[in-house]
């Protein structure tokens, strides 16, 4: 089965969290997987959004790249700023998000790339 790629760029603000979440679950929902898995994807994307909001790059947009196919759903968020943007925010929010992502996803990584940090997660749908 071919892999489809869906790209969504939104302002990195909380009010777009729902749009991104709904897009992700709509993509997975089409594939006939149990709703348990759909719900995991929902939770994962919600947590990934924490990174997006807290590490937005100048300009404030963030890009979500989803792929579906070959029994997998992947979501890549980035490029993001390497450092936390807001003064005074501690890291516990991200550590918490990372804990949840690690539990909910089959693969989860934070990757440093030349253009910034990327959050990558993958959920096996088979």
């Amino acid at each position: 089965m071919a892999t489809d790629r869906i790209v969504l760029t939104v302002p990195a603000r909380e009010e777009y969290a729902r749009t991104v979440r709904m897009t992700a679950v709509a993509l997975v929902g089409r594939l006939g997987v149990p709703i348990d898995l759909v719900d995991d994807v929902r939770i994962a994307v919600e947590e990934a959004y924490v990174f997006a909001v807290r590490r937005k790059q100048p300009g404030g947009d963030v890009t979500f790249t989803f792929t579906v196919g070959d029994g997998r759903f992947t979501c890549e968020v980035g490029p993001l700023a390497d450092a936390l943007e807001t003064e005074g925010t501690d890291e516990s929010g991200e550590r918490y998000a990372a804990f949840i992502l690690d539990s909910v996803c089959d693969e989860f990584e934070l990757a440093e790339q030349p253009d910034g940090m990327h959050v990558r997660l993958c959920k096996y749908l088979a």
Binding site: E14, R21, M22, V25, I35, D36, I43, R54, Y96
Partner: protein, 262 residues
């Protein structure tokens, strides 16, 4: 005889017997003092619910005031013959009042009626299909069953989150074993421990969860159970697990970290 004191995590529990007496005095004897006492007694519930809306830019005092109107409506309409706890009855009324307030201000907490109804139907469909098929149904199966589109189902599932104010009382009562605490399962070098700096912080955050919620958290994240497996184990519906799980994650985040994602 010394009275047993309630521990801190139970500050949202109300005295059922006293509530009932007050309602009888108010409804049968038309005792206005009893009504006032009920209002005072349940202001904590209003405060608790109003806090759920605190990040929407309205002063919390205003929200409490609006919520109190809902509380008074609930007290006036409550029928003591019905076999339902007052908190169960009052919670949706108070939330309804708060939501109406935001809606009247033209803000985006509105949930179309169509979706509210669909969300309810999706809930029932998941239960029924899970039983029929002995596994968690797919979105497509639910959509077929209800003769709606898969997108409708997903949107309804998202929506039901907004109505996820399960009665606090029911939460406790359906939980036979009160003693469960996820803290017992969190090791020193655990990932969850790495999130917070010390056990006291985690312990304080977990106080906001009922034993049932803690158990769900434990089964999902420490034991890797699926939602369907958890539902079977706790004898609740998969949708309930889904909602409780999301609520649990949110409550934890709100208490562990400062920022909140809507």
């Amino acid at each position: 005889m010394p009275r047993r004191t309630h521990n801190q995590s139970r500050k949202l529990t109300w005295d059922k017997q006293h509530t009932r007496e007050l309602f009888i005095r108010y409804k049968r004897d038309e005792d206005g003092g009893a009504r006032d006492e009920l209002i005072t007694m349940y202001l904590n519930l209003v405060r608790y619910l109003a806090h759920r809306f605190r990040n929407r830019g309205e002063p919390i005092d205003d929200l409490i005031q609006v919520g109190t109107i809902g509380l008074i409506k609930a007290i006036d309409r409550f029928d003591i013959e019905r076999k339902v706890e007052f908190t169960t009855y009052a919670t949706p009324t108070i939330i309804g009042e708060l939501k109406r307030y935001f809606r009247d201000k033209g803000w985006a907490v509105k949930v179309p009626r169509r979706l509210q109804e669909l969300s309810f139907k999706v809930n029932q469909a998941v239960d029924r299909l899970t039983q029929e098929k002995q596994r968690s149904p797919t979105v497509l199966e639910i959509a077929d069953y209800l003769e709606v589109t898969p997108e409708d189902v997903l949107e309804a599932m998202e929506t039901s989150e907004a109505y996820n104010f399960v009665s606090l009382e029911t939460d406790r009562n359906t939980d036979g074993d009160d003693s469960f605490s996820i803290l017992e399962y969190v090791g020193q070098d655990d990932q969850l421990m790495a999130v917070v700096d010390d056990r006291a912080t985690l312990s304080a955050a977990l106080k906001h969860l009922t034993p049932q919620e803690q158990r769900i958290l434990y089964l999902r994240f420490f034991r890797g159970f699926t939602q369907t497996e958890i539902a079977r184990q706790l004898d609740i519906s998969q949708m309930q697990v889904s909602r409780l799980l999301r609520k649990t994650l949110r409550v934890l985040r709100e208490n562990l970290v400062r920022e909140v994602l809507e």
